[in-house]
């Protein structure tokens, strides 16, 4: 169905991705949703690819959530971003890697503003100096971690113990890929593949043996919408968007959903529980839902990392179906055992969603 034309579009949207010497900015909230993902990314870069990536404990929020919820004014956001750049300068690095897709969008927006309105850049310098005494220089390159994994996907494949193939049937796993809106829809030229057919996750899936599912609502936003989700009066509207996506992907019977945005991953995973409990509907054949993975979890899983070390147990829709389909070795007993060896307790079972 026209894969050749799709490939043409991907080629139009290529961007430079830095090869090494990264400054990593952790997400302010990602660790609460998917605790293992960021550590997994650092391990992959250092242990598998031998790259230098600095994880600075002085990191803080980029104010993306606050800014997009109309709470934090843009001047503040620019100054906070400048401080993060200053931390990067302090580490002697020029390649900025924000873990969160909203962050990625914020930095592109801030840099674009400074490009078109240099007076804003000067104003930010004054603000940062007054507030903290710091100076800063902008990075040479901003890449999202999913861009980096995409860039090195062929090398990573050589080290992978597993592929996205159903062990019993030999067929590729069917994967729905979902890109965070702030990755490609705001600045299409800053993404791999553009906004209509983004390739950053599709490339990983295809390289590692899976099959990408193209369904009608592929481009639709998950509904996170910051203020819309955070405020209960708007939450029904927010959830309705994820529901629209689930209804659209259901007939294709995907094996799992892959996303590169923390909000999207949380939405796609959590709302399947919410919709099941509120309306009794699930979107797979067994009432268990469609599992959701972050790209770090998927990469780590295929490299053979212990699923419980990378956080695959902290999901609303359980992920064992993926592990079983691929044929990955794991110990079910250790699922809720902490790093210290202590049993952490099993979560309460939902009424409708089968876990």
């Amino acid at each position: 169905m026209g894969m050749e034309i799709k490939k043409q579009y991907w080629n139009e949207y290529q961007k430079e991705i830095a090869q090494d010497d990264y400054f990593y900015e952790r997400s302010c909230i990602r660790q609460t949703f998917f605790p293992g993902s960021e550590a997994t990314f650092l391990n992959i870069l250092r242990d598998e690819l031998g790259k230098k990536i600095v994880d600075d404990p002085k990191i803080h929020t980029c104010t993306g959530i606050g800014y997009h919820s109309d709470i934090v004014p843009f001047d503040t956001t620019m100054t906070i971003c400048a401080r993060l750049f200053s931390l990067m300068n302090g580490a002697g690095l020029k390649n900025y890697v924000p873990s969160c897709v909203t962050s990625f969008g914020i930095f592109n927006e801030v840099l674009d503003t400074w490009k078109h309105y240099p007076e804003e850049l000067e104003k930010t310098r004054v603000n940062l100096r007054k507030a903290t005494g710091r100076e800063f220089e902008v990075p040479d390159n901003i890449a999202h971690p999913s861009d980096i994994i995409y860039n090195f996907r062929k090398q990573l494949k050589l080290k992978m113990k597993y592929q996205l193939v159903n062990r019993k049937t030999g067929k590729p796993l069917k994967v729905v890929e979902h890109i965070g809106c702030h990755y490609s829809k705001i600045f299409a030229e800053k993404s791999i593949g553009g906004a209509e057919f983004p390739h950053v996750l599709a490339g990983m899936i295809e390289e590692w043996g899976g099959e990408v599912v193209d369904y009608p609502e592929r481009r639709h936003c998950c509904g996170f919408g910051f203020r819309n989700y955070l405020v209960m009066a708007n939450r029904g509207y927010s959830v309705a968007n994820s529901k629209k996506k689930f209804e659209s992907m259901k007939p294709y019977k995907p094996d799992f959903i892959l996303t590169n945005c923390p909000g999207c991953a949380m939405f796609m995973d959590r709302w399947q529980y919410t919709i099941a409990e509120m309306e009794g509907t699930t979107y797979d054949e067994n009432g268990k839902g469609i599992p959701v993975l972050t790209y770090e979890e998927m990469t780590g899983m295929l490299l053979g990392y212990n699923p419980w070390d990378i956080g695959m147990q902290v999901h609303q829709v359980q992920t064992e179906s993926i592990l079983d389909k691929i044929g990955i070795d794991y110990n079910p007993q250790d699922k809720y055992v902490g790093v210290s060896g202590m049993f952490l307790g099993e979560p309460e079972k939902p009424t409708n969603l089968v876990v």
């Binding site: 209960m232 009066a233 029904g236 509207y237 309705a240 409990e277 509120m278 309306e279 009794g280 009424t351």
Partner: protein
């Protein structure tokens, strides 16, 4: 089912795959001139009722045509059947007949408790 204090929004999209367009076919068999409407809005422009209410013949006609019946009955009641729209219509649609027939069809559905 759980109630966490909010409801998941129902889409307001016109879903032409699911809309029941058979009612429009009924309308057109009784008032064939309805087929000539090009939605120009001259009717709404001259309408007496639209001065003080949300009523618009063009809007009702298109909602009926697209199978969006839920608020139509209330809207149609606002029409005074004065006929100014009939005078003004450039295509020769018998607008009064369209309104009356829409009301008949919808009240028939209501009487038979058929959900719209």
């Amino acid at each position: 089912m759980k109630d966490w204090g909010y409801k998941i929004s129902i889409p307001r999209i016109i879903d032409l795959d699911r809309s029941d367009t058979s009612l429009y076919k009924q309308l057109v068999s009784k008032v064939p001139s309805a087929m000539k409407c090009i939605m120009c809005g001259a009717c709404s422009a001259t309408c007496t009722a639209s001065n003080h209410t949300t009523f618009s013949f063009r809007h009702c006609h298109i909602l009926f045509k697209r199978g969006q019946y839920s608020r139509l009955s209330d809207e149609l009641d606002k029409c005074m059947l004065c006929g100014k729209c009939n005078l003004v219509c450039t295509q020769g649609v018998n607008t009064r007949a369209v309104i009356s027939t829409m009301r008949l069809i919808l009240s028939d559905m209501n009487n038979r408790n058929i959900a719209l």
